[in-house]
């Protein structure tokens, strides 16, 4: 069993028009920049992208939007330090938005990975984000029913990985990445280093390899926040 692939381009093979793609990261941490840019090079159209944010500056998800790949964003916070790419298209009616509270977004993805088609949460009850949703009362309190979220592909940034797909993450770059690994039909991971089997202590594995399909080593990966502060543009 060997899930290693040789390049970011090879890693994103098969992501076609209309696919739903989860992309890890929160703000400037944990975004799989090299995989995203390889996907831009490939150029599928009409994608639905699931991420906490909606892209920053002119790289990563923002560059996907600039390149016209994205039909719809599912996210909690499409405003960030420099959200021009999304904002311009959204206000022009050229991109759809499904706004999901951040904890609900995380739990919906977790549910998708765990085979839980729906769950109840207090979050959003009585707000416009619960409009049209099933409401139920448990023990005298009202809750909103939320559905699982799954994707065709997940693009993930991890720290160490092995050829079976066992993964660790770097600090708060963990965020949505381990959840998204579980909820996609095909999970594609870039790691800073591929270590031999057994190189990750079984006690320290954060994502077990069962959730991973492809692993590519990208040594010294770009850090989104650093790129944005440097004014980088991917086009």
């Amino acid at each position: 069993m060997d899930k290693q692939v040789a390049s970011a381009a090879e890693a994103v093979a098969g992501i076609g028009d209309g696919a739903t793609v989860m992309i890890g990261g929160f703000g400037g941490s944990g975004a799989p920049i090299e995989l995203i840019h390889a996907l831009i090079d490939k150029g599928p159209k009409g994608l639905t992208v699931i991420n906490n944010n909606a892209g920053n500056g002119r790289i990563g998800i923002a560059a996907m939007i600039d390149a016209g790949l994205v039909k719809k964003m599912i996210c909690s916070f499409p405003r960030s330090s420099d959200p021009r790419a999304f904002t311009d298209r959204y206000l022009a009616g050229e991109i759809e938005l499904e706004l999901v509270p951040q904890g609900t977004l995380a739990e919906r993805i977790r549910a998708g990975g765990a085979g839980i088609p729906a769950f109840y949460t207090p979050t959003g009850f009585g707000t416009e984000l619960a409009e049209g949703k099933v409401i139920a009362e448990f023990d005298g309190r009202s809750y909103v029913q939320e559905r699982w979220l799954k994707a065709d592909f997940a693009l993930i940034k991890a720290h160490l990985g092995d050829r079976h797909g066992n993964l660790t993450y770097n600090k708060a770059a963990r965020n949505f990445n381990p959840l998204m690994c579980t909820a996609a039909e095909t999970t594609i991971v870039q790691v800073s280093e591929i270590v031999p089997l057994g190189g990750i202590d079984p006690e320290h594995v954060v994502t077990p390899g069962i959730f991973v399909d492809r692993v590519v080593e990208i040594a010294d990966p770009a850090q989104e926040e650093v790129l944005i502060r440097a004014g980088a543009v991917y086009a």
Binding site: Q102, K171, A172, F176, L179
Partner: protein, 234 residues
């Protein structure tokens, strides 16, 4: 008392944050909303230990690092670089919101556009224009044992922010337990604003006039005091 006099009696944002910080007990787990609420961390009374939670997966983070020393994989929910204290832990977003929703936080401190006497909070969106963004606000208002709001008592053009019913889109229903304003400390008890502290020199009737719902008294009302503070953000 004129609006100008009312303005003259107000606490600065730093002082509001200071006042809220006094009510965070030793050994508690706290989430501070992005922006203004983050100021609360600066005014923890000496000798008290608070463990701060951030939605993006850290418990027990500390001060920002010196400029140039930032690790951009070590940030808080406001996307600002932070440091770790000994005993910190990382976890993913579902575990992080399990802490929030599951009732494990002692206190969440949030800003507000409006707070209703019912405890309803509006703090994520003013109208229907622009790009809506909710982040973790709707999750944070549920689950924490106490939800504190820190806010000016009135808007910039003098309208009440404490109201009978919120007119802005809601963040949560019946969730706020206490409000620290520029002029008063007010508990929300069974759908009523109960005044606990007010600024010295302020008349109850004036405060009531600047408040969009009835203020109740249930026990003593003491002076709302705060030291002079230099506030780089205020």
């Amino acid at each position: 008392m004129s609006t100008q006099d009312f303005d003259a009696l107000k606490l600065s944002n730093a002082q509001i944050a200071w006042r809220a910080a006094q009510d965070i007990a030793d050994g508690t787990y706290v989430n501070l909303g992005i922006g203004f609420p983050e100021m609360v961390a600066r005014y923890q009374p000496p000798g008290r230990q608070t463990i701060f939670h951030t939605e993006n997966g850290i418990l027990d983070f500390g001060e920002p690092p010196a400029e140039g020393e930032e690790d951009w994989d070590l940030i808080n929910a406001g996307k600002r670089a932070v440091t770790l204290k000994p005993g910190a832990a990382f976890f993913h977003h579902a575990d992080s919101f399990a802490m929030v929703r599951g009732g494990h936080l002692d206190v969440a401190i949030l800003g507000a556009y409006q707070v209703a006497e019912t405890g309803d909070l509006a703090n994520w969106r003013i109208g229907s224009k622009g790009v809506p963004a909710v982040g973790g606000a709707m999750d944070l208002v549920h689950g924490a044992r106490q939800v504190f709001v820190i806010t000016e008592h009135v808007t910039k053009d003098g309208k009440p922010k404490l109201v009978e019913r919120c007119s802005f889109p809601l963040t949560g229903v019946a969730c706020v337990t206490r409000v620290y304003t520029s002029h008063a400390v007010i508990d929300i008890v069974e759908g009523r604003f109960v005044l606990r502290e007010m600024r010295p020199g302020l008349a109850f009737d004036t405060l009531q006039a600047m408040t969009g719902a009835a203020l109740h008294r249930d026990g003593p009302v003491t002076d709302l005091l705060a030291p002079a503070l230099y506030s780089p953000l205020a």
